[in-house]
Amino acid sequence: MSVATHSARDISSIESILRNIGPYNEVPDEYNADEAAEALRTTTVLVIGAGGLGCEILKNLALTGFKKIHVIDMDTIDVSNLNRQFLFRPKDVGHSKAEVAARFIQERIGDEELKITPYFGKIQDKPLEYYRQFGVIVCGLDSIEARRWINATVVSLVDSELNNLIPMVDGGTEGFRGQSRVILPTLTSCYECTLDLLSPKTTYPVCTIANTPRLPEHCIEFASVIEWPKHFPGRKFDADDPESVQWMYETALARAKLFNIQGVTKQLTLGVVKNIIPAIASTNAIIAASCCNEAFKIVTNTNPILNNYMMYAGDESIFTYTYAHSRRPNCPVCGNMSKKVIAKNWWTLDRFIEEISGKQEIQMSSPSLTTAEKSLYLRNPPNLEQATRPNLAKKFNTLVRAGDEVVITDPNLPISLRLTVEFTGPEVEPDDVNSSLM
């Protein structure tokens, strides 16, 4: 029996997986068990989300032998989380999920080497640079918007030489169903490539809601879509405010009485307006387990990783299916790598457009250019063209900072083109023609 040094946790069971090269190892010649064990110890993993999936993921990663874990979550603990988010106790209600989860795991596992760094806030708060430190990112999110953001971020980190490629493992559950997937940015399909797989939110036609309600849901939608904006113009409904929820419930109930519809309850009201899907703890456990195994395989190279999408459906008996979702060539996020262009400091925007339009590989007829912050020049619609036309005569380096991403769309291009701009040369165009040739 091996005795662990210091107070480090005994990971002999994991060591045996690392030491024995199995028949499925894809890189038997290069594989080295010591390096794999070292990678497990030194790779920094980012866990996004410390909720239902996140609690499972954190626990699994820590017990699998990862030593450097960061966790981000913007939420605080709610009483309704306690049934499945097992790192939290009633006394933790109101506190940061990330901080409480990190402390719990740290105390429970009691491993001096293990360091869990929590961040209580949004993923969008962190600069691009922050994400570069991670070897793997594991997501247990419930929001499409957050997934799209982190996906676009990891894709944008990859440079033209394919450096800084951070694998991302994404898990998601919905009742008895779930999926886990591995995204190798720019190599395999990204989250944005598969947006069309998402099942649309349940919505009801406004006309039905307004005139011929049949279901309790119709009455609640009536209260939320038609009555709320009428009574509280300009105010967004806050599902965490008990008074607003009560108002919504009463309004829906009155509507239901009018049409003799049964079944409007406070719980259903909350479910409809918040679009709540029941969470099942065991589905979270299954998906989180799959995600963590993938993270382990990515870092250690012991076994082939998931290629690249595993769906799990437990609502009708049980069914799983794994397939390789292919990349979408015209994906707006990963279908086009950001290309680097060098602009002269003395160029105007007009000159810049002229220069890039002439390039063989770009070939544009009427390009429109923007950055994340502002529109540079837009060809269409007419009043935007007029509003942005004065920019054409301005110096390009007063509109864009070095390193900014410029997005170009053109009717000739099936996708949008992303250019990262760098500047060289003097501020004023040199008189001597030869000097500009360098």
Partner: protein
């Protein structure tokens, strides 16, 4: 990561073959944080700069750097609503194109598919929205509502009933309402283009 490195190499070789020559490698990556463009903005820029609208639809942007909020005018040249100018506000959220654009009519108008608060009943704005549709299709759809009001999916039930029962009465009601006036004790905004 070993497997991933293999995949990287393979892809680079493919890229080099495709471009015919190896790209000049060199300068290291930047260390500060450049401004990033969101997926929604990428898609929206494409949708907006490629709008191809009939003369009866006008879009105006109060802020030329904000694609997510803009105004819309529909000026029907034929049908019941000929001569009217109808104002709309379009709001698009960061989850576009998963979430459809939100469009609201700013005038109080007499229309079977638009209620007095400006809510619009158009299937592709709600239950039939899908990310494969684009902004252009939604605006064309909205324009169509003014050419062919649909009495089968009413939001303004009274208007729909009149349209079904008596077309010429409906026509009179529309032109009266567009001049600014009362129909069945409800005042409608003046939207005539004079």
């Amino acid at each position: 990561m070993l497997k991933i490195r293999q995949l990287q190499k393979k892809k680079q070789q493919e890229a080099e073959l495709a471009s015919g020559s190896a790209s000049p490698s060199g300068s290291g990556s930047r260390t500060d944080s450049p401004a990033k463009v969101s997926g929604a903005q990428l898609r929206l820029q494409k949708d907006i700069t490629e709008l191809d609208l009939p003369k009866t639809i006008k879009v105006t942007f109060p802020d030329s750097s904000d694609f997510f909020n803009f105004n819309l005018q529909i000026l029907p040249q034929q049908g019941f609503y000929k001569g009217g100018v109808f104002d709309f506000k379009v709001e698009i959220n960061g989850n576009f194109p998963i979430d459809p654009p939100k469009i609201r009519c700013l005038n109080k108008i007499y229309h079977p598919n638009i209620d007095l608060e400006g809510n619009i009943c158009l299937n592709i704005l709600r239950e039939d929205w899908s990310p494969v549709l684009n902004l252009n299709s939604v605006l064309i759809g909205l324009n169509f509502l003014f050419l062919e009001p649909n009495p089968n999916d009413p939001l303004n039930k009274e208007a729909a009933n009149v349209l079904v029962k008596d077309k010429s009465q409906f026509k009179r009601n529309v032109s009266n309402s567009m001049r600014g006036g009362y129909i069945d004790q409800t005042y409608y905004d003046k939207v005539l283009n004079i």
